[in-house]
């Protein structure tokens, strides 16, 4: 299992499971492919026939509105047949195992699975199961697994940063918030280090920083003011409501006091710094409304780019 399981024998992308270990050329190719797809959305007929006749199964074991919807739109704009399955929190509660579900859907001639699961590594399990059972022509795209990865979110973040900032190698990027539980943060960290971002910081209280995160190539700042200084890009993470009060944090108010993004704190970053957020936002918890809706916020363009990036991923993977 040591080989990167998402790359085929010629290094082509057959599944998208994580950004870790993905070569910079592959990432750049995905971002380049996404560019023309952005303009498709502005046309009267928002469709291309790249995935005509393909069956894309949105396999969501964990609830999601935004990611599922944008994947659905992406697949439909590529002319695929999209089937949405919301299996809920746990497959085992229905007595069917994850791999049984996959086998059944394969019997319905699925071409691609877009998978979201609460367990880290679930898409890897599906991909390796498809390989060992001789069905490697069925593709898996990870739409978020546990705390592990959310590669299409990472890619759309990279797309957004490249769109506004051009050269990664000159940038200082800060990721702020619940890094411990965040698959968005992990994917973005891998993507940015691969693209040779100059400096990458994570800003959070110690309770929300996982062990030895420095090994991933980031600098940890517990003080947000220090961490934001001279940043080009500020990425805010969502704080789940169940984590706002308890042993990780005392209250949303105190969290906002230290780690909420305000105009005053943002002033420490570069004057042209952009502000990103994967959504959905908690206004007044991790970000104040003035910043979220302010001139430097690129949060809504992120959503638009997200569809184009997902179209790029689906079309590239399906072609391999």
């Amino acid at each position: 299992m040591s080989r990167n399981p998402q790359l085929g024998s010629n290094g082509e992308l057959v599944h998208l499971l994580t950004l870790e270990g993905l070569p910079a050329e592959v990432i750049a190719h995905i971002l380049d492919t996404a560019e023309p797809f952005v303009s498709i959305a502005e046309r009267e007929v928002k469709k291309v026939p790249l995935l005509r006749g393909k069956a894309v199964f949105n396999l969501f074991f964990e609830s999601s509105t935004r990611t599922r919807t944008t994947f659905e739109i992406a697949a439909k704009r590529l002319s695929a047949d999209v089937i949405n399955l919301n299996i809920g929190a746990s497959s085992t509660s229905k007595g069917e195992t994850l791999l049984d579900t996959v086998d059944n859907l394969c019997a319905m001639n699925a071409d691609m699975f877009v998978v979201r699961h609460s367990q880290s590594g679930a898409p890897h399990l599906i991909a390796s199961h498809l390989t060992t059972t001789g069905r490697s022509y069925v593709h898996v795209v990870n739409a978020g697994d546990g705390r592990h990865a959310h590669p299409t979110q990472g890619l759309l973040d990279l797309y957004t940063i490249r769109h506004y900032k051009k050269d990664f190698r000159a940038l200082t990027v800060a990721i702020v918030g619940d890094v411990l539980h965040s698959r968005v943060a992990r994917s973005l960290i891998h993507g940015l280090t691969t693209m040779q971002t100059a400096q990458l910081r994570v800003i959070a209280p110690r309770t929300l920083v996982p062990a030895r995160i420095e090994a991933l190539g980031v600098k940890v700042c517990n003080d947000m003011r220090e961490g934001l200084r001279d940043c080009d890009v500020v990425v805010m993470l969502r704080l789940q409501s169940e984590r706002m009060k308890g042993a990780l944090l005392p209250s949303p108010g105190e969290y906002f006091k230290h780690y909420g993004l305000t105009d005053e704190k943002l002033a420490l970053a570069r004057p042209d710094a952009i502000v990103m957020h994967p959504g959905p936002m908690n206004r007044g918890v991790e970000i104040e409304t003035a910043v979220a809706d302010g001139a430097r916020s690129v949060i809504l363009p992120q959503v638009t780019f997200g569809i184009a990036v997902r179209m790029a991923v689906l079309s590239i993977v399906a072609a391999n």
């Binding site: 299992m1 040591s2 990167n4 399981p5 870790e20 085992t92 195992t97 994850l98 791999l99 699961h117 367990q119 880290s120 590594g121 679930a122 890897h124 399990l125 390796s128 199961h129 697994d145 546990g146 705390r147 592990h148 990865a149 698959r183 992990r186 996982p210 062990a211 030895r212 995160i213 090994a215 991933l216």
Partner: protein, 428 residues
């Protein structure tokens, strides 16, 4: 039945023997080494040239899955695995369904094991009723039924007052207490070592302090009560250091490590390999090095298989949902030999960790080949390589992170009570 094990390298640290000799067995006992008894005429001769002849292996932790979990394994399958691995005596932890907290369950288990006439089975009784950590079990009744020690298996005893009392009560009657040091709170929800790998893979983690805090608690209670404790399954460098210091202090403790942990680290999880989901979690390569050194210098007394047969249903799920554990009875010997060869530990000393030392922890005598002792013997070829695979394992649990690995050291014959209970196919 008179059996002669001819011309093998007889290794026995207790008797201080390490030489090529013939072993003579009659009526279930060893009757001579090197010199045949008078009027000797063997009914069967086992040609052990090139082989090592040692006391049968003794394993401190082999889950047989009976009662209650027969879909994973049965006594038949696991005792066959034991003797195929050269294990002639094993202790089984109480985390069955129901747990081993009543004499009837223990008697049934002992009876079933006796009928099969393979390896000796020594049940470990539950320290508390239902392993719930609240009320003490009837330890004396359980001991009479056959329990050799009392433990909580992998379920931590959260209430330290109950823990102290359990130790005091057990100590009153000389019952042995085995504890696996893990703090329940720090380990809550965790599935991997708190380090770079868990961070990269986004796996909920268990910090080393889950082990060191529990060790400190247990050792404080040992100091307080004077009751000896055997510590199960160390996993960390810090844990080894604490045990080393406690032994220097003179505390009455012994400890063991699972053989998997001498060879694997969290990096072996790779891309979420559920086979590497073990209890305790595989820790860093630094921790592994300390465990190996601890086993070599005797800080760690015993190496055990921590045998836990898990079926495919338990492993073909995402890493965090996978049942923990791996099959180990048939790998205890080759993996111990591998460790010894790599770290230049002399063979007699390595064998001591899986024969005499665990026998002392269980309290079943010496596990020695000296004349007069029961003929529980393992004869293995120290050169023969074999590949760990589903076909080559007798255990019903085929899941181990070592699948596909070529190991060296194959058991030729296993004798229990002077009878050949296992012979490698192709031998006569």
């Amino acid at each position: 039945m008179k059996i002669e094990i001819a011309d093998g390298r007889v290794v026995d640290s207790v008797a201080g023997i390490d030489r090529v000799a013939t072993l003579y067995i009659d009526a279930g006992r060893i009757v001579g080494i090197g010199e045949a008894p008078e009027n000797w005429r063997a009914d069967r001769i086992l040609d052990a040239r090139g082989c090592v002849v040692c006391a049968g292996l003794v394993d401190l932790s082999a889950r047989l899955r009976e009662p209650g979990l027969e879909h994973k394994a049965t006594l038949e399958s696991e005792l066959a695995a034991a003797v195929a691995g050269g294990v002639t005596s094993l202790a089984c932890p109480p985390d069955t369904d129901p747990p081993l907290d009543e004499p009837g369950l223990v008697e049934m288990l002992k009876h079933r094991a006796r009928t099969l006439n393979l390896a000796h089975v020594y049940p470990v009784g539950a320290l508390t009723v239902g392993l719930r950590g609240e009320a003490l079990t009837e330890m004396s009744e359980l001991a009479e039924a056959g329990c050799v020690a009392f433990s909580q298996a992998d379920i931590p005893l959260v209430d330290t007052q109950v823990l102290l009392r359990a130790m005091q009560y057990a100590g009153t009657f000389g019952h042995r207490v085995w504890l696996r040091p893990q703090d329940a709170h720090l380990a809550r929800g965790g599935v991997a070592h708190d380090g770079e790998v868990a961070t990269r893979l986004g796996l909920p983690s268990i910090p080393v302090s889950a082990e060191t805090i529990a060790l400190a608690t247990i050792l404080a209670l040992v100091r307080e009560s004077g009751v000896p404790v055997h510590l199960c399954r160390l996993s960390s460098a810090a844990g080894v250091a604490i045990v080393r210091a406690a032994k220097e202090e003179g505390l009455p403790i012994t400890c063991d490590v699972a053989v998997h942990h001498l060879h694997l680290a969290d990096t072996d999880i790779g891309w979420f390999d559920p086979l590497a989901n073990l209890t305790p979690p595989l820790r860093s390569t630094r921790d592994r090095a300390a465990l190996r050194a601890g086993a070599a210098d005797g800080t760690i007394d015993v190496i055990c298989s921590d045998h836990a047969p898990v079926d495919d249903d338990g492993k073909q799920v995402p890493f965090g949902e996978a049942e923990t554990g791996a099959t180990g009875l048939e790998l205890l010997l080759p993996l111990t030999l591998k460790w010894a060869a790599e770290d230049h530990v002399p063979l007699p000393e390595a064998l001591e960790r899986i024969t005499r030392a665990p026998a002392c922890v269980i309290g079943i005598g010496q596990a020695t080949l000296a004349a007069g002792n029961p003929a529980d013997i393992c004869v293995f070829d120290p050169q023969q390589a074999w590949t760990v695979g589903r076909q080559s394992l007798n255990s019903q649990g085929k899941n181990t992170p070592f699948l596909g690995l070529e190991v060296i050291g194959a058991v030729r014959w296993t004798l229990v009570g002077g009878e050949v209970v296992h012979q490698r196919s192709g031998e006569d």
